[in-house]
Symmetry: C2
Subunit: 350 residues, 2 copies
């Protein structure tokens, strides 16, 4: 029987969010929106009613196993799949796909990063349901493409062939091309053409479809995981993976599969999406006070301060006076104060 599964990729290190995000607790394990749930929890919450908790899988770094089990007690412990090191999304997806296939060869799968913000959950569930129903009926790879609201230069784009919509799925189109992050002028031409979408990194496919796609388009990676077929779900799995995984090429699923595969479709979506990749994107998604400040933390007081994001994970007192267009973050006594315009350089300040 075809059942829907969710794979949450939660292996990121979140270094652009220091000091909120730390190597010991990256952003997906934090309540960065100040709503009482971590990004990882919000990601799983979002699929409630679409995918049963026992069909949720989380792929993360071995050092985060305990955090995942604490934050997602409803997810089966053996569905927390551990990478011994980061190798990009292609080996990550190939590994978890083999694990799912071993348990359920006909599983229908959504793959989602753990660090997105989505505002319209009803529309999100509708779109995911549509994509799952399409992938259950076909051998297609489906990506969710976000209708762009501005000429963003921080996202990859997907060009759709709007003349070719799927049979019985009028809202799903064949992908013409994947485009890397453009410059501003190019982004402007994209959004004027109406058939370009932001690449959300959310994928939908049948487990046999993606395993076959790895066989065809990423032979090296595929063979490594296929060779371990006999260990998946056994006590020797982790040891075998720990030995083999570091030998995989480090590559994203976009490069390894999406850009090469034939039957790739995009499901255009408009549900208030942000990848929360930087303080600026978090600033945009948070509610603002009348002075344009986005404040998370109960102890924060802002005086004569405008268009700042002020973020504290604790109840500590933070008084900010006279700042404009700045990031102010406190976590465990470590502090970052930085112009919002310079957020791309935060890693280099460390």
């Amino acid at each position: 029987m075809t059942e829907n599964h969710l794979v949450v990729m939660a292996g990121g290190v979140g270094s652009r969010f220091w000091p909120m995000s730390t190597p010991a607790r990256p952003k997906q394990f934090l309540d960065i929106m100040g709503v009482g749930r971590t990004m990882l929890q919000l990601t799983v919450d979002r699929f409630r009613g679409v995918i049963r908790p026992e069909n949720v899988w989380v792929v993360t770094g071995a050092q985060f196993a305990e955090l995942v089990r604490e934050q997602l007690p409803e997810v089966p412990a053996d569905h927390v799949v551990l990478e011994p090191c980061g190798r990009g999304t292609a080996p990550c997806i190939c590994y978890v796909s083999w694990r799912i296939k071993t348990e359920n060869p006909r599983a229908n799968v959504v793959v989602s990063p753990a660090d997105h913000d989505i505002k319209d959950l009803e529309e999100f569930r509708r779109i995911v349901g549509e994509a799952l129903s399409f992938s259950a009926e076909t051998d297609s790879i489906v990506t969710l493409g976000i209708k762009p609201s501005r000429p963003a230069t921080g996202y990859g784009y997907i060009r759709a062939d709007l003349s070719f919509s799927a049979l019985r799925h009028k809202g799903i189109f064949r992908v013409d091309a994947f485009k890397e992050k453009p410059d501003l002028a190019t982004a402007g031409t994209y959004i004027r053409q109406k058939n370009y979408y932001w690449n959300s990194g959310i994928f939908v496919w049948n487990v046999s479809t993606i395993v076959n796609a790895f066989r065809v388009y990423a032979r090296d990676i595929s063979e490594k995981f296929e060779a371990l077929q006999h260990v998946y779900g056994t006590p020797s799995e982790q040891e075998a993976i720990d030995a083999m995984f570091p030998t995989c090429e480090s590559i994203s699923v976009d490069y390894a599969i999406m850009e090469k595969a034939e039957e790739v479709f995009v499901c255009p979506a408009d549900f208030g999406w942000s990848d929360l990749g930087t303080w600026g994107s978090l600033y945009d998604q948070l509610p603002h006070d009348e002075y344009g400040n986005a404040i998370v933390g109960n102890g924060v007081r802002a005086v004569e301060t405008h268009r700042c994001i002020i973020h504290s994970a604790t109840e500590k007192k933070i008084v900010v006076q006279g700042l404009e267009d700045c990031i102010v973050v406190e976590n465990d006594g470590n502090i970052l104060i930085c112009r919002l315009s310079e957020e791309q350089r935060i890693k280099s300040f460390m």
Copy 2:
């Protein structure tokens, strides 16, 4: 025999230095200069060679007794004199003077606040020695007057009669008048006249002189402490003081005694003095990097930052980018970020 004693007044709450200074540990108990010694310790250190540790007295709030004993183990435990509440410097000085007089009726005393910075210790000791020698020979009240380096509006001024210097003490002059904190124009006229000095709040006198001055100029306060003569140094002292002290008028020794007394002298001094009353004065006294930043704390990194004071009591990482003319302070996770120009408003932000 006349012996020299030191009284350190260490009862302040330091609210203008939040969050470095807290009600539980005001600035005098902190290493605010980042030199490995607290302001209180630096104050006592400064008198080394002039006053023996067993002749040091500290007056402070009852809640700080333990801090004083920890930080000044060389001071006799019964020389830590505890006020049950703050009543200004007049009751404070009257109380400790009676305590000293009980132990040594001929004691020669320097009274010093616990939160001053003094750069030239050799000159400081020379001046203090001169003033002590003068007060030992006479029944005079002596104040140290600081040669002003700028028309400061944050200090009171002392006008000296330079035509009248003391016999055998050519560097000590009669005080003509005490002036309250002036406006900028008035301060300008003061410093052009060459006989105005900043009121340092450091006093020198014989214990019998000051006790008599209280009898004459602050009769109410004097009577309250004189009535307790029989308890000083006994086990019932603290209880009696705790009951009586709150009934004292809250008043400074400047108002209660100095401005009224006849025989008041000033000893002009030039030893690099600052009262460290605000972040701005601390900024001025700390060493500056090539961008004009004054940084205390081993974990601080400043990028494209100019003329800021950045202060951390801990080893926490603090990254500051793109700030100018600001105060950035971290203590125990609490943070203040504020324009230096607005430092007088810090209390109101709390």
